[in-house]
């Protein structure tokens, strides 16, 4: 009796596939540096500043973080897609002014202003994106131009219409209460109050993270930032992805602009300048590469949280708040250093 000879497939080393070690996988996460820094900073302020240890203070820290974090999430996605937006800071104020001026001047329900302003914000994002993909001029320059244009428009149009540098108070208009409930209310948790922006911030971060890691769109965002030519060659619609990312930033600028407006019922037209760097720093500290193709939405949220902690912590600790900017500079430099190391580690042959 003959037994059939079974040919065994050659033993490839894959059968005992050695996974990369846990430490290696954690170290190469884009958020790693930011989480480590956040823990160190938290411990530092917790030990030196007594008021920092109270719950209301923590609520304030979260609120400060959310005001950076909402836009920073969009900026992070844009940076992963390989582009840059310097107009985000003033676009926030443009959105708020458009809503305020539209509904006040025409005596409309505030929701009309909110909607008009959404269209304008998405339009600004679209224009940024369209100019970048159409002309091939670096987004740094295109959005720098948008930044100055919007800054001028904010001041000139506001002064021209109201005669002052601020928009008129819209708290008497119809729909103000419902809009305030959505964009700027306090949520009582019993033991502490938190601003609703904190909830939105966490929600947007979760959504962005889901899009980035679990959807086709996210795959395309990484690809257009990592290697646009290669992405195009396999059929990824690179211009659409980039324009979409700019519009995403526009949407989040609009959202934060609505918060500013409904939090105080009027907006100063000169606000917002300089905030674009805060969003970018939050994204970079959170692990985004300036060159694109790498980063995370959760990282940007942690970057914003570091911002919030430091901004408030310096005050609680009784330090001179002027040092805040120095801290930012040092933080940014450290973050870039860590990110460079992580990228080299992640992309070298092993």
């Amino acid at each position: 009796m003959s037994t059939p000879v079974t040919t065994k497939p050659p033993d490839t080393p894959d059968s005992t596939k050695p996974q990369r070690s846990l430490a290696s996988r954690i170290l190469t996460r884009p958020e790693f540096g930011a989480i480590a820094a956040a823990i160190v900073i938290f411990i530092f302020f917790f030990s030196v500043a007594a008021p920092f240890r109270t719950l209301p203070a923590f609520g304030t820290v979260l609120y400060a973080s959310s005001t950076i974090g909402i836009v920073a999430v969009g900026v992070a996605l844009l940076m992963i897609g390989g582009e840059f937006d310097l107009s985000a800071g003033v676009a926030v104020v443009t959105s708020a002014l458009v809503a305020a001026l539209t509904c006040f001047q025409l005596s409309l329900n505030v929701w009309v202003g909110v909607l008009v302003s959404l269209i304008v914000a998405l339009g600004v994002g679209f224009l940024n994106g369209y100019l970048v993909v159409r002309t091939g001029i670096p987004s740094f320059l295109i959005t720098l131009a948008t930044f100055f244009s919007l800054r001028g428009i904010n001041l000139a149009v506001t002064k021209g219409i109201t005669g002052t540098v601020a928009s008129d108070n819209i708290s008497e208009l119809d729909g103000f209460a419902s809009a305030k409930a959505i964009f700027a209310s306090d949520i009582p948790l019993g033991f502490m109050n938190i601003k609703i922006t904190v909830v939105w911030w966490l929600l947007f971060t979760a959504l962005a993270s889901w899009i980035l890691l679990r959807t086709r769109t996210g795959n395309w965002i990484f690809a257009v930032g990592g290697n646009a030519a290669s992405a195009r060659a396999v059929g990824v619609p690179v211009p659409k992805v980039k324009i979409g990312l700019f519009m995403g930033v526009g949407f989040l600028c609009w959202f934060y602009g609505m918060h500013l407006l409904f939090n105080s019922a009027s907006v100063q037209s000169g606000l917002g300048v300089g905030n674009e760097f805060r969003y970018i720093i939050a994204a970079v500290v959170g692990g985004c590469l300036l060159t694109g193709g790498y980063g995370s939405a959760i990282g940007a949220a942690i970057g914003a949280f570091i911002f919030g902690m430091t901004e408030q912590g310096i005050v609680y600790a009784g330090f001179n708040p002027d040092w805040f900017f120095t801290f930012l500079g040092v933080m940014l430099l450290l973050a870039v250093g860590v990110n460079l190391y992580i990228r080299n580690y992640a992309s070298t042959r092993r």
Partner: protein, 271 residues
């Protein structure tokens, strides 16, 4: 042994069928003529080699077939139908896949994400439908194993693989997604001898499975190992067009090295 290529190659391909026919194709960028009067037929089960020095028009030629630049004169037929591609997607939809020398993959993305880039598996048709990540990991892993590419971890960034492995992943991807015509742009240019061998073997397997292959190279030795048909370009024009029976490696090498000009030069230098 099961083979990725044979499994996924289109069974309707018959050896010798003309898949892509270029007749008198040219491309001008404004007043500059980059390519002129090119006739090239890519047949199923054959490798058409396009050789040429830097600036000979090789890249322009593949960019026309792969949809990056539309041609400005002549006709391009795919399966007998006149076409003019507006984007790489058009070309892909006709079953033409291009593997570029240096931009085949996105280095910082995981191997499986690269494998499925542009053709991701999703769990639904609606926008933002979740990806079928487990499925994609499994398929990419299986396909690569079948090709004998041992990847430590399918989740590692593809930049950590060797150059030859990256080329093979890109070729396997093109075939897996139903390419009928495969355009390889200098696949061995940046590789060592051993790595080149792996890529050439894989090219031959694609040919034997019935795909039409366009192999762009400036290395006549590599071309002669796998080619059925050879075209040499010089300054945007065709200077040699012969089948394997009509040409020797010496002739290709001499022609590539400059042919008559080289002979003249050596004569000049000797005196």
């Amino acid at each position: 042994m099961t083979d990725t290529i044979e499994e996924h190659a289109d069974p309707t391909l018959h050896k010798g069928d003309a898949l892509v026919e270029m007749q008198d194709v040219g491309k001008a960028f404004g007043p500059i003529v980059a390519l002129e009067g090119i006739n090239l037929t890519v047949r199923a089960g054959e490798v058409a080699c396009v050789l040429g020095d830097n600036g000979a028009g090789k890249s322009t030629l593949i960019k026309i077939i792969s949809g990056l630049h539309p041609h400005t004169s002549g006709t391009l037929k795919v399966d007998g139908q006149d076409v003019k591609f507006g984007s790489p997607r058009d070309s892909l939809d006709h079953g033409i896949a291009t593997v570029y020398q240096d931009l085949a993959v996105v280095g910082l993305m995981e191997v499986w994400r690269n494998f499925f880039l542009g053709s991701e598996l999703r769990k639904g048709k609606y926008p933002l439908a979740p990806l079928d990540i487990a499925g994609m990991r499994r398929i990419a892993d299986e396909e690569l194993k079948k090709m004998g590419i041992s990847v430590k971890d399918i989740n590692q960034p593809i930049g950590t693989l060797s150059g030859g492995q990256r080329q093979c992943v890109a070729i396997a991807r093109a075939v897996y997604f139903g390419a009928r015509v495969l355009i390889l742009d200098e696949p061995t240019a940046a590789l060592g001898v051993k790595q080149s061998g792996v890529v050439l073997k894989y090219t031959a397997r694609a040919r034997d499975a019935g795909l039409g292959v366009v192999f762009i190279t400036h290395n006549p030795h590599h071309a002669f190992l796998v080619g059925n048909h050879f075209i040499i370009l010089k300054l945007g024009r065709r200077v040699l067009d012969k089948t394997r029976d009509e040409v020797t490696l010496e002739e290709l090498t001499t022609e590539m090295a400059g042919g008559r000009e080289l002979a003249e030069l050596s004569h000049e230098l000797r005196t």
